[in-house]
């Protein structure tokens, strides 16, 4: 082992607050974003609690509206978008490509503080909470509580942080790869992060201007979205979804990247179809910019536009499907160990397929008319976001926990949590598909009695889910001090981050490594080399 100090060696507030070490910044993001996962999840539990009864109960409809707005906005903007890129991405991109840091370390810290100031501004708005839904549709949001202005401003800052992080990653991946680290030797997580960063950089400014225009509408009466002034409320929706559709792939691409690392490592087999997976990340990133109109099929958008957007929508399924087939093919004849990272990775595939396939019902014009803005949609996006991204995140957290903290997780508790979460998740969200097919609209504080029993089921599921999540986070926290000391490479993985000690030294690599092979040569020495 080297004598260089671990990146965690320095203690004290200042050593964190002023750090330019990508690893520490990654950890700070990790803690911040997960805090909002817990808070957002807690709000979801309250939502579910209210829905236990169809009539007025517990708290007012207005409170319910505030709660789902906060739940959605926090989960999306403060948790899931930055969760993988800014935390695990920050921590592992330089390590995976053999660099000492990102291209612009100061900018990296600055972007963290932008994120935090955005959060603070949003918290200020809580004195007069907004109830617009996370989609901020005008004209409702233009007339809503004064805090919409504050929240817009806060989200603008959060967005800038997201842009700068993406920018940093793009330049890092282009310029700081270790000698010999050609594009086709990059770990697939990097490809995923690259696609993500491109989306962040190109789509986030559009939501920025959208929020600015919303503020201009509220403060100066500029009527771009106001029909009374000749404006067009649908223009807001176009702008909003030009960002918010690509952003769902900001969420999923990094998770897919994690899966592409975990599957070969735990199956002890090279990834199947490396180039296909790599390019499909870019293809998904690109196509994601072409399909935003599928959120607006019944909004009053023209039929022509609807047909075009529906057509394009389906083509996201092709590269996505390719990835899924490739992962499954990687498992074929592997030597699979079902440690917790792998369990989560398989869960990701399982749940994401359900989420993705239900996306097809939404993408088809005829069926979307019926299921749009019903619980079918709610189920779809929780299967893709919670069942997809968050499960991928969990996989990454279990996989990299030893590297980040230098400790092993307690495998037994990890599995207990896994059971609870998988069962709880499906009991919570599967009934929502049926509710949606029966016509229950979303954002309903009170609902007709015929939807009662399935709602009760979903609420009960949310409790199981909560217990599982509490167990999991307890395991994370407890293992910080009590976990077994982690070796440098507990999973015998081949990517570069595992070749340095756990936790990594401050400058990552004593000597920048020279790369001679791709990172997926599992079984190359032992097995036969058919099909290469």
């Amino acid at each position: 082992m080297s004598q260089t100090e671990s990146y965690l060696a320095h203690k004290g507030f200042k050593s964190w607050a002023l750090t330019m070490d990508h690893k520490r910044i990654g950890v700070m993001y990790l803690v911040t974003t997960h805090l909002f996962f817990l808070i957002g999840g807690f709000l979801a539990l309250l939502l579910r609690l209210k829905l236990l009864s169809p009539g007025p109960a517990l708290f007012s409809a207005h409170t319910y509206d505030v709660l789902f707005t906060m739940h959605g906005a926090m989960m999306i903007f403060l948790f899931i978008i930055p969760a993988i890129p800014s935390s695990l991405g920050n921590f592992f991109i330089p390590l995976l490509i053999g660099a000492r840091d990102v291209a612009f370390p100061k900018l990296n810290l600055f972007s963290y503080y932008l994120f935090v100031s955005g959060i603070l501004v949003i918290l200020i708005s809580l004195v007069q909470p907004i109830d617009t839904g996370w989609t901020f549709y005008t004209p409702f949001s233009a007339e809503n509580s004064a805090a919409v202005t504050t929240v817009s401003f806060g989200l603008f800052l959060v967005g800038m942080s997201s842009i700068l992080t993406g920018l940093n990653f793009i330049v890092t991946i282009h310029t700081l790869r270790a000698p010999g680290m050609t594009w086709y030797r990059l770990p697939l997580f990097i490809w995923g992060m690259y696609g993500t960063s491109v989306i962040q950089v190109l789509s986030t400014p559009v939501i920025g201007i959208t929020f600015l225009l919303l503020v201009a509408e509220r403060l100066f009466g500029v009527g771009f979205f106001d029909p009374a002034k000749g404006g067009d409320p649908l223009l807001f929706q176009h702008f909003f979804w030009f960002y918010s559709h690509p952003v769902v792939y900001v969420m999923i691409l990094p998770a897919m990247g994690i899966i592409s690392e975990v599957i070969p490592c735990f199956a002890r087999k090279p990834i199947f179809g490396y180039k296909a997976i790599a390019y499909s990340a870019l293809a998904i990133a690109f196509i994601s910019f072409l399909v935003w109109g599928h959120h607006m099929f019944v909004s009053g958008m023209s039929t022509t536009a609807g047909v075009i957007f529906s057509f394009l929508t389906f083509f996201v399924a092709v590269p996505t499907g390719m990835k899924i087939f490739n992962w499954i093919a990687t498992l074929y004849k592997g030597s699979i160990s079902l440690d917790s990272p792998m369990l989560w990775a398989l869960t990701f595939i399982f749940l994401f397929i359900i989420g993705g396939l239900t996306g097809l019902f939404l993408g088809s014009l005829a069926t979307d008319v019926h299921v749009h803005d019903t619980y079918f949609l709610v189920a779809h996006f929780h299967y893709t976001m919670m069942g997809g991204t968050v499960m991928g995140l969990f996989s990454g957290l279990h996989y990299w926990y030893p590297k980040i903290t230098g400790r092993m997780l307690d495998e037994r508790w990890a599995k207990h949590a896994w059971w609870m979460i998988v069962v709880g998740f499906n009991v919570t969200f599967f009934p929502m598909f049926i509710l949606g097919m029966q016509g229950m609209p979303r954002r309903y504080a009170e609902y007709p009695a015929k939807y009662h029993s399935l709602n009760v089921l979903a609420t009960v599921g949310s409790w199981l889910l909560a217990v599982g999540i509490v167990i999991m986070f307890a395991n994370f926290i407890r293992s910080l001090n009590r976990g077994a000391i982690a070796p440098a490479n507990p999973w015998e993985a081949l990517t570069l981050e595992w070749q340095v000690p756990s936790p990594p030294p401050e400058e990552n690599f004593e000597v920048i490594p020279t790369v001679t092979d791709w990172p997926y040569s599992y079984g190359k020495e032992t097995g036969d080399t058919r099909g290469k």
Partner: protein, 87 residues
């Protein structure tokens, strides 16, 4: 010295083009007004990009970074028009 000279030449061209576009705007060419103005603006933009922003001497990667986003500008405009123009 050569750079300064070429910069000044470009600047003169830009000013002349500005004069031209203002001049044309006083004529009534119907739809062509917009077309001419945009063509002139794009010529000016190209000049600024190539000379002032050094794209003429840039490596391919940077040129790619400069041009790629234009595609997305086109996408948001075309995508939105595909709705508003067919309503």
């Amino acid at each position: 010295m050569a750079y300064y000279k070429s910069y000044v030449m470009v600047w003169i061209a830009l000013i002349v083009l500005t004069g031209a576009t203002v001049g044309v705007s006083f004529l009534n060419l119907g739809l062509w007004n917009a077309a001419v103005a945009l063509v002139i603006a794009s010529t000016k933009a190209t000049l600024v990009g190539l000379y002032f922003m050094h794209l003429r001497h840039e490596i391919k990667l940077v040129i790619g970074f400069a041009l790629f986003p234009l595609l997305f500008l086109a996408l948001i405009i075309i995508g939105t028009l595909s709705d508003t123009m067919t309503r």
